[in-house]
């Protein structure tokens, strides 16, 4: 019987201690990735690195819209991520304590300039942008020509609307429509509550002389009529039923464009590899134009460029893990495999050893900038409590799409303006 006792006690001990036995001494890397669309590429790259150096690299990608929840949960764990993403200045407020000062690291030395670095209030670089991206309206120029129009026609909202209305009116005859579905399912709604919302935000920042990182406590409704212009166009000149947008997904919208059923598709340059790869589109027939919405002087607008992808290294990780993480990231931006992967996935890569990207959208963005047009920076990076703010906007936008009345638009305006103030207070209160 004493044996039985000993056995049971031993069993209990074993159960609780078994997991602890797997502790490792060599540094290992745990990267909590923010971009679901790049997940596979990171997994492959991590496997290559492990093969080459023997250092274990774990890449985990949070489901879209859950990054901050996942980060909060993971950071509380003993095996916390060693590399994580900080999207913007308010991310520095939340996670600055956990972010290593990058000043003396080898990865920091590889950067091209300070444009995509996030500094804390004391001026220490805490997160390093690893790509910058552009978004706008992606155009299938082959279809556009087929419909008897050309890119040169489109220079502002009025001309965009004229072209889109014409295509939509002849959709049956042409076999394709103007815009791909503006789905408001969680997998797609960020295109509008995030990216499209940048347009009114950008213009009011511009008026007020603000830049990204200003983190205003309140915003105005100044350019929301313009937002309404473009949104009305999206939900009118499309094959999608505006009452069922809440269940219309990003994949469906992407497929609609990729399979040649729509001429216009609002999204970013990160779509390039999927459109040319998965859907086999010819890069020659792809172009990206600015999102026009009827603001004065918008013919001089360029694309929306910026980043919400900055690497931060967990300062509270083990010394060995920190070093392993720095080594891994340095390898990513300098090695053959790493730079190839970055060039394939992203269009703008702010590192010295970056390979030229084949991404035509990135080239479009540069072309607009070189032609002296103003680049719209990513003011939407300042959105307080971003997932919650967007959820409210999407709710209002969905209701408005199903019934585009002025009363429903008031709700959208309220979700923008009041929602911003509320979420700002939530986050800072």
């Amino acid at each position: 019987m004493k044996k039985a006792l000993a056995l049971i006690l031993a069993l209990v001990m074993c159960l609780s201690l078994s997991a602890a036995a797997f502790a490792d001494d060599a540094g290992s890397v745990y990267y909590l990735n923010f971009k679901p669309e790049a997940d596979q590429a990171w997994q492959d790259l991590a496997a290559k690195y492990t093969e080459e150096t023997g250092v274990e690299v774990k890449v985990v990608t949070a489901a879209s819209g859950t990054y901050s929840d996942t980060l909060t949960a993971e950071m509380a764990k003993t095996e916390a991520p060693t590399i994580f993403n900080i999207g913007n200045k308010s991310g520095i407020t939340d996670w600055g304590d956990y972010a290593l000062d990058l000043t003396d690291t080898s990865i920091y030395a590889e950067r091209v300039n300070d444009d995509y670095v996030l500094f804390d209030d004391a001026g220490a670089p805490k997160a390093l942008g690893y790509c910058y991206e552009s978004f706008g309206i992606i155009v299938n120029t082959a279809l556009l020509e087929q419909a008897g129009h050309s890119l040169d026609e489109i220079t502002d909202f009025a001309s965009l609307k004229a072209v889109a209305d014409d295509i939509h009116a002849r959709a049956d005859e042409l076999g394709f429509d103007a815009f791909s579905a503006p789905g408001l399912d969680g997998s797609s709604s960020w295109r509008f509550s995030g990216h499209l919302a940048n347009i009114p935000l950008y213009y009011q920042y511009k008026d007020a002389g603000l830049t990204v990182g200003a983190l205003p406590a309140e915003i105005t409704s100044d350019y929301l009529d313009n937002y309404r212009n473009i949104w009305d166009l999206y939900i009118t000149d499309t094959a999608a039923d505006p009452t069922s947008l809440s269940t219309s997904t990003g994949d469906e919208s992407e497929a609609e464009f990729g399979e040649g059923k729509a001429v216009f598709y609002q999204n970013g340059d990160w779509e390039f590899s999927r459109l040319t790869g998965k859907f086999g589109m010819d890069p020659e027939t792809l172009a990206m134009i600015p999102i026009y919405c009827g603001v004065d002087g918008e013919s001089e607008a360029g694309l929306n460029c910026g980043t919400e992808n900055c690497w931060a290294i967990n300062a509270k990780a083990d010394e060995a893990d920190i070093q392993a993480s720095i080594d891994f990231l340095t390898w990513v931006v300098t090695s053959e495999e790493g730079t190839a992967m970055l060039a394939e996935q992203f269009s703008g890569i702010p590192f010295k050893a970056a390979k030229a990207s084949a991404n035509v959208f990135g080239a479009d963005a540069a072309e607009y900038a070189n032609a002296g047009k103003y680049t719209m920076f990513w003011a939407f990076n300042d959105t307080p409590n971003v997932d919650a703010w967007r959820a409210t906007v999407v709710t209002a936008l969905t209701a408005y799409s199903a019934d585009p009345s002025d009363a429903n638009w008031e709700q959208v305006v309220s979700a923008f303006v009041d929602g911003w103030a509320i979420e700002y207070a939530n986050v800072n209160g």
Binding site: T72, M75, D94, S246, T395, T398, A415, N426
Partner: protein
Amino acid sequence: MKKKKRDAAALSSELIRRPIRRWFPVFLLPTLVCFCIGFIWPFAQGIYLSFCTFNTPKDATWTGISNYVKAFRDAGFVHAFKNTALFAIVSIVLINVLAFAIAYALTQKMRGSSLFRTIFFMPNLIGGVVLGYIWSMIFDAILKHYSTYLTANATYGFWGLVILVAWQQIGYMMIIYIAGLQAVPEDMLEAAKIDGASKSQTLFRVVIPNVMPSITICMFLTLTNSFKLFDQNLALTGGAPSVIMNGAKVNMTELLALNIYSTYNINKNWHGAAQAKAVVFFILVASLAIAQLTATRQKEVQQ
């Protein structure tokens, strides 16, 4: 009653008691250790942390009752509270009336009653998250005919949740009612019949008073189930739609448990308030349970 019996049993078994005591490490210790890990310690720490600001429990600093003030000032919490109370009332009535009616019908002589019992109980075995998914698909499919969808309107979400929970729990309550109904003494029913009582008279004067204990149990279970509801709420609507009301943001279909959870996820400034809400929630649920238990006990004594 119970207590007396227990003491008597313990005292009279000195013969048994003494050898067992030495086996404490085998019999009680494993459960006790796990109970401390899984309940006692988290509970105590939870109470403490509700008075602190913290990101993780390691960096907690004492801030007094400010978390509680913050919790009660949160319009979303107040709304969730009202929502939960309304939801509890509606589902208690609906579930118990229907479950009793079904149980009553199934205990009459009727063909296929055991098959129906099987069918009605089935939804109970499916988890809340899965149920939420199934029903959101069904509700969206129905509402599509009216050009709308489940999360468009808080009313849809509320009644959707009521229907879901009713579908899930009616079978469970039915089983308890059936057990109660089968325990109604046959001779009392016979006596009622002989006295010429009508069916409804028999039901209200004889059957219902006799199944009172089952009714109490079912009321209690539906009450606590409604208050603790989380999975179904999360999976069906997740609290959507969220709207701005009187200058505050409210997740319209959020019940208390989900509100606590989503508060925690706002950011680290809200961890303390979320824990404070959890303490308030605990006090609420515990007092409901205690009130219910005392009421039941009193009734039992009277009988």
